[in-house]
């Protein structure tokens, strides 16, 4: 079964324990200055954003059909069956198409390195494989972030919404966006007030490219036939003309 995460903004107290646990897991520096940077970057793979008195986490959404995976020319990004979208730095050529294509603005690049890598959350693929929760959900003191089986996460989200109907905006963010993700958001207010993009299409993005890309073989073969045909006709005409000219003279 595939893994998922539930982030419940109504329970988040903005303590940033998730940020700190993530940095530790990746061996990245973490201090007050970095804690204050409320944006994803090559040295901060998850962050807690402040929106008035509410909080909203950011991390890779681990899309069901990720744009980043579909655009990577060398397959450095892969969607694993267990859910995590993982990155292989040894394959990456650094085209940064994944940064362009991600609908959630997730991946970051090591702009100041001469041997740069893409950096992004990998859903603690190793921990999840070992049956453990992600580092951030283990660190969360309020159950605002929890992780586990996808079905269990969805059931828990619905249970929380049913229990306190007045406290939740009646939708789960991540269920439909770009074909669904592995990170679900709950909120007291409409999601755009947490800075989330609510304009995303429901269909997975890779399909938009594939609609054109899949026509390549037929365009190529039709083109070859057509061009050979034109070539034959125009040159045959010339030959005929030459012969006729020759007979006349």
């Amino acid at each position: 079964m595939s893994k998922a995460m539930l982030y419940d903004s109504t329970l988040c107290i903005g303590c940033r324990a998730c940020e700190s646990a993530c940095s530790e897991k990746w061996g990245l520096p973490y201090d007050d200055r970095i804690a204050a940077e409320e944006r994803l970057s090559a040295h901060k793979l998850t962050t807690v954003k402040t929106h008035g008195e509410r909080f909203s986490r950011r991390l890779c959404m681990h899309c069901a059909e990720p744009g980043c995976v579909s655009v990577c020319p060398v397959g450095a990004l892969q969607k694993t069956a267990a859910g995590p979208v993982v990155y292989d730095a040894d394959k990456c050529i650094g085209c940064r198409y994944c940064l362009l294509a991600c609908p959630f603005g997730t991946p970051s690049y090591e702009w100041n390195s001469t041997q740069p890598r893409v950096r992004k959350c990998d859903f603690c693929a190793d921990r999840q494989r070992a049956g453990k929760p992600t580092a951030c959900s283990e660190a969360c003191p309020t159950q605002a972030t929890i992780s586990g089986e996808r079905d269990a996460m969805l059931a828990e989200a619905k249970r929380r919404m049913a229990e306190k109907p007045g406290e939740y905006y009646p939708r789960i963010y991540g269920l439909e966006e770009v074909g669904g993700t592995s990170v679900f958001f709950l909120s007291a207010v409409p999601f755009e007030q947490l800075g989330l993009n609510t304009q995303l299409p429901d269909e997975p993005l890779p399909g938009l490219t594939w609609a054109a890309q899949s026509k390549i073989p037929s365009v190529a073969s039709a083109g070859a036939v057509l061009l050979s045909g034109v070539y034959w006709i125009t040159h045959r005409r010339e030959e005929v003309r030459k012969q006729e000219g020759g007979e006349k003279s």
Partner: protein
């Protein structure tokens, strides 16, 4: 050489020298400090001038090559032969520009070969990589006859002539796919690219507009070389190219506006804002030459024809920069203005292209009559 001519050539030498120094500085900065210090790119705006101009326009410049090759070799319109070799040379240089820019822009250029063995056919970038490699090889083969004619070498020439037809067909198909797929690169960002440019027809739009700029470049460079080397082209030939450009531009613009209307986005051209202004600029630069070139009196005057072709080229460049920069800014939630080093490197590569073109034209039988 007259004093004036000597002064002019000294002036250009100085300009090229400055561009070369600035460009080399940018390249050194890129490879010693990384992309962060040499560009204004960011996580929010990961593709800038090097992709939007050098790669996307460089590929477009090359379109003249496949169009002229198809005209002469496949459609058998032999009177266009005099512009065939210059067009192939431009295409070849355009592709070298693209490769140079890619090597600068990729974070790990030494791994460019990864695309050969690590496949992802779902990725447009994967297809672009393959088309660049294969088509550069085809162009090289289409271009070497000029070299062999100069150096002598009957056997390779005969061998090359034998494979001309399949080579030509392969080249035309590869570049069709490639021109189109540069547009397909942006199909994945409906949420970022402004609706004045985002359309499922992006690949078709890019293919048609590349066709326009291919013709425009062919006119542009033949006029340029005729001035520089005193080799005048036939008026009837230029006239034909001009008419073809007018028709193709009209087809492109008609499709562009039909598409906007069908997507119910036409009203956006009146929404004040940077997008609408740049759309207006792009459209004007393509529409004016389309209208003027339908007038025979314009087409008969080389100067006017040249001006129209140049406008169309500017319109094409504006379109590519609109897709890659103007139309992407709002959706990316940021502004991007290239850093001076990005501009310097770009100008440096263009200057190198011009210099190689002139050198090749001087030393090789490019503008000379050729027999098959």
């Amino acid at each position: 050489m007259s004093t004036l001519a000597r002064r002019r050539s000294a002036f250009w030498t100085v300009v090229f020298g400055i561009l070369a120094v600035a460009g080399i500085y940018g390249v050194v900065l890129r490879f010693t400090q990384g992309l962060g210090s040499s560009t204004n790119l960011s996580d929010k705006f990961p593709w800038g001038l090097w992709i939007g101009f050098d790669v996307m326009c460089g590929v477009g410049l090359a379109a003249g090559g496949f169009m002229m090759v198809a005209t002469v070799h496949i459609f058998n319109l032999k009177r266009y032969k005099p512009v065939l070799r210059p067009a192939i040379l431009t295409a070849f240089l355009g592709y070298l520009l693209v490769i140079a820019a890619l090597l600068l822009d990729l974070g790990r250029p030494e791994r460019i070969w990864h695309a050969l063995i690590m496949w992802n056919p779902h990725s447009v970038m994967f297809e672009v990589a393959w088309c660049v490699m294969l088509y550069t090889a085809v162009l090289a083969l289409e271009f070497v006859p000029a070299v062999f004619e100069k150096l002598g070498g009957e056997a390779p020439l005969r061998w090359l002539r034998a494979i001309t037809v399949p080579l030509v067909i392969l080249g035309v198909i590869l570049s069709t796919l490639h021109q189109a797929s540069i547009g397909s690169l942006y199909l994945i960002v409906p949420h970022k690219l402004h609706p004045l440019w985002y359309t499922p027809l992006l690949p078709v739009m890019f293919f048609l507009s590349a066709g326009c700029v291919g013709l425009a470049m062919t006119i542009f460079e033949s006029w340029h070389s005729s001035r520089a080397f005193g080799k005048q082209l036939e008026v009837s030939l230029l006239n034909g190219l001009g008419r073809a450009l007018a028709v193709l531009l009209s087809v492109y613009l008609a499709l562009r506006f039909t598409d906007l209307a069908q997507r119910h986005e036409l009203a956006r051209i009146l929404e004040p804002g940077i997008e609408a202004y740049f759309f207006a600029l792009e459209t004007a630069l393509l529409l004016l030459p389309a209208v003027f070139l339908f007038l025979p009196s314009i087409r008969r005057r080389p100067g006017a024809l040249y001006a129209c072709a140049f406008m169309a080229i500017l319109g094409f460049v504006t379109n590519r920069l609109n897709v890659s920069v103007t139309g992407m800014e709002a959706g990316s939630g940021t502004h991007y203005i290239p850093k001076w080093t990005e501009v310097a490197v770009t100008l440096g590569i263009i200057a190198a292209g011009f210099a190689i073109f002139r050198l090749a034209v001087k030393r090789l039988p490019i503008f000379e009559p050729v027999e098959t």
